[in-house]
């Protein structure tokens, strides 16, 4: 029932749009009608650009997120375990954090030129911060007795981190990963739109500049669908793996 109700608005909008275009109410100059867009979608699918561009964007977003998240989690664990370190790094991190990730696009372009590496670098910078912050606060929130137990057991530092700290922080770290995944996709597409000639963002710009509004809308809707899917899948995974722990972690 809920799903049906949710479909009403989009369906009505699409139908109105189609009707308005057919009856000549809006002149299909910049925006055409849903039927034509569906045809353009088949075209983009048939010539392989849609699949190819999706692979490129996902590849760069995933690699960037993996890099940024790994660094963020590592720093977050270190800052969470050693408060003095966190206090000493406070000014440096607070000075770097407000830099908008897109401001680094020109710098990455200058260093790496076009291609995957520059996109991965910008995505990694953007994904680093949410994981640093969430992991740090998750590690601080670990039941102190757990840490005491690990000390009493005489666990080595590595064992303490991998057997006690990370598993205890995992539900919240996963929430961070979910947020970072959304960020990674957004930043990857943004990098492609502004500078990097690969992936979905670039396909979007090419379609616009070659005056193919239908094709442009196909890519726009596809990007929207992907973002939504990533979000839904990760949310399901979180509920499944962490259950109530997950929703508890969400609110923290």
């Amino acid at each position: 029932m809920r799903a049906l109700k949710g479909l009403v608005l989009p369906v009505v909008l699409v139908a109105l749009w189609e009707l308005a275009a057919r009856s000549g109410f809006i002149v299909a100059e910049s925006l055409s009608y849903p039927g034509a867009i569906a045809r353009a979608a088949l075209g983009a699918l048939a010539d392989g650009t849609l699949i190819q561009a999706t692979k490129e964007t996902f590849g760069a977003a995933l690699a960037g997120m993996a890099l940024g998240a790994a660094l963020g989690i590592a720093c977050g664990v270190a800052f969470g375990l050693w408060r003095l370190l966190a206090a000493l790094m406070r000014l440096s991190t607070e000075a770097l954090r407000p830099i908008p990730s897109v401001a680094l696009i020109p710098l990455a372009l200058l260093i790496y030129g076009f291609g995957y590496r520059m996109e991965i670098a910008v995505v990694a910078f953007a994904c680093f911060w949410p994981l640093l912050i969430i992991t740090e606060s998750a590690v601080r929130g670990i039941e102190p007795r757990l840490i005491e137990v690990s000390r009493a057991l005489g666990l080595s530092l590595a064992a303490r981190i991998f057997k006690i700290v990370l598993p205890a922080a995992l539900p919240r770290v996963f929430v961070g990963l979910r947020l970072a995944a959304a960020v990674a996709l957004v930043v990857a597409v943004t990098v492609e739109i502004t500078a990097n000639p690969i992936g979905l963002g670039y396909a979007l710009i090419v379609a616009q500049e070659s005056m193919k509004p239908n094709r442009m809308l196909v890519f726009l809707l596809w990007i929207g669908l992907l973002g939504w899917l990533v979000n839904v899948v990760l949310l399901r995974a979180q509920q499944r793996w962490f259950g109530r722990m997950g929703s508890w972690a969400e609110r923290r």
Binding site: E94, P98, L104
Partner: protein, 256 residues
């Protein structure tokens, strides 16, 4: 501030200075090509020079103006639409799934669409910023309304409050923390989109400045631009935090 806190604050300043010194040493030693790695002396030197140029302030003003226009229109529209949606559960059940779809959409992806619809001009930039910043505020407001204590609604009915009075006197104050969480996100988004649209459209502004600096290999200008954008991000965030603390001071230090 306690003594340890003071010491730690001083320590963090020292660490930051040490990192800058390290950056200087690395640049001096030529470890990385100076083409894209100017030392802090050149970066801050260029920044200092720029502070005396009218062009810089013009670009700065343009970026800030677009950001402010987009952010403010998004804030107003987001709170108003969010209140309407927050009041009616029936309306929400129809609209919310669509919102869930639009929310994760990368806002920069709508730029080409807005260019086609509006054209490559000032209005397009502000419209894109407003569009992108709208969702966090809207969803924050809706969330804030949902968490209003049901008994407050009963009280309002008993007092025969009009819906408007209920919104202004009960729902909005209750939703304020969520609205501010949305506003903080929207503020970051508005700066990002201002930079992106300027890079794409070639309109005067800080985003345009840094992409031009990169294209002509003026790395010191690029670093100066990045520093300024970081400073704007920091300052606007701080300002919003101050406003939030002022607006929410009546809540005291109640946890949550």
């Amino acid at each position: 501030m306690t003594r340890t806190a003071t010491l730690q604050a001083l320590g963090s300043v020292a660490v930051a200075l040490a990192l800058i010194a390290l950056w200087q040493l690395a640049a001096n030693a030529g470890l990385i090509s100076p083409v894209f790695f100017p030392g802090p002396d050149r970066s801050f030197g260029t920044l200092w020079e720029q502070l005396h140029e009218a062009d810089f302030w013009l670009a700065c003003g343009e970026t800030l103006r677009r950001m402010a226009l987009g952010f403010l229109s998004a804030a107003i529209a987001g709170v108003v639409l969010g209140s309407v949606l927050g009041l009616s559960e029936r309306l929400r059940s129809y609209v919310e799934p669509t919102l869930e779809f639009v929310r994760p959409l990368p806002a920069s992806a709508v730029i080409p669409l807005f260019v086609l619809l509006i054209g490559l001009n000032e209005r397009m930039i502000v419209a894109v910023i407003a569009f992108a910043s709208l969702w966090p505020v809207l969803l924050g407001t809706v969330h804030g309304f949902k968490t209003v204590e049901p008994r407050l609604g009963e009280v309002a009915r008993m007092l025969h409050l009009s819906p408007l009075a209920f919104v202004l006197k009960m729902a909005l104050p209750n939703a304020m923390p969520d609205i501010f969480a949305g506003l903080r996100l929207a503020l970051t988004v508005s700066l990002i989109l201002a930079v992106v649209t300027e890079m794409l459209s070639g309109m005067e502004g800080l985003g345009h400045n840094i992409i031009m600096a990169a294209r002509s290999f003026r790395s010191a200008d690029l670093y100066a631009g990045i520093i300024v954008l970081g400073a704007i991000g920091f300052a606007t965030n701080l300002a919003l935090e101050r406003i939030e603390r002022h607006v929410l001071r009546w809540r005291g230090t109640e946890p949550g």
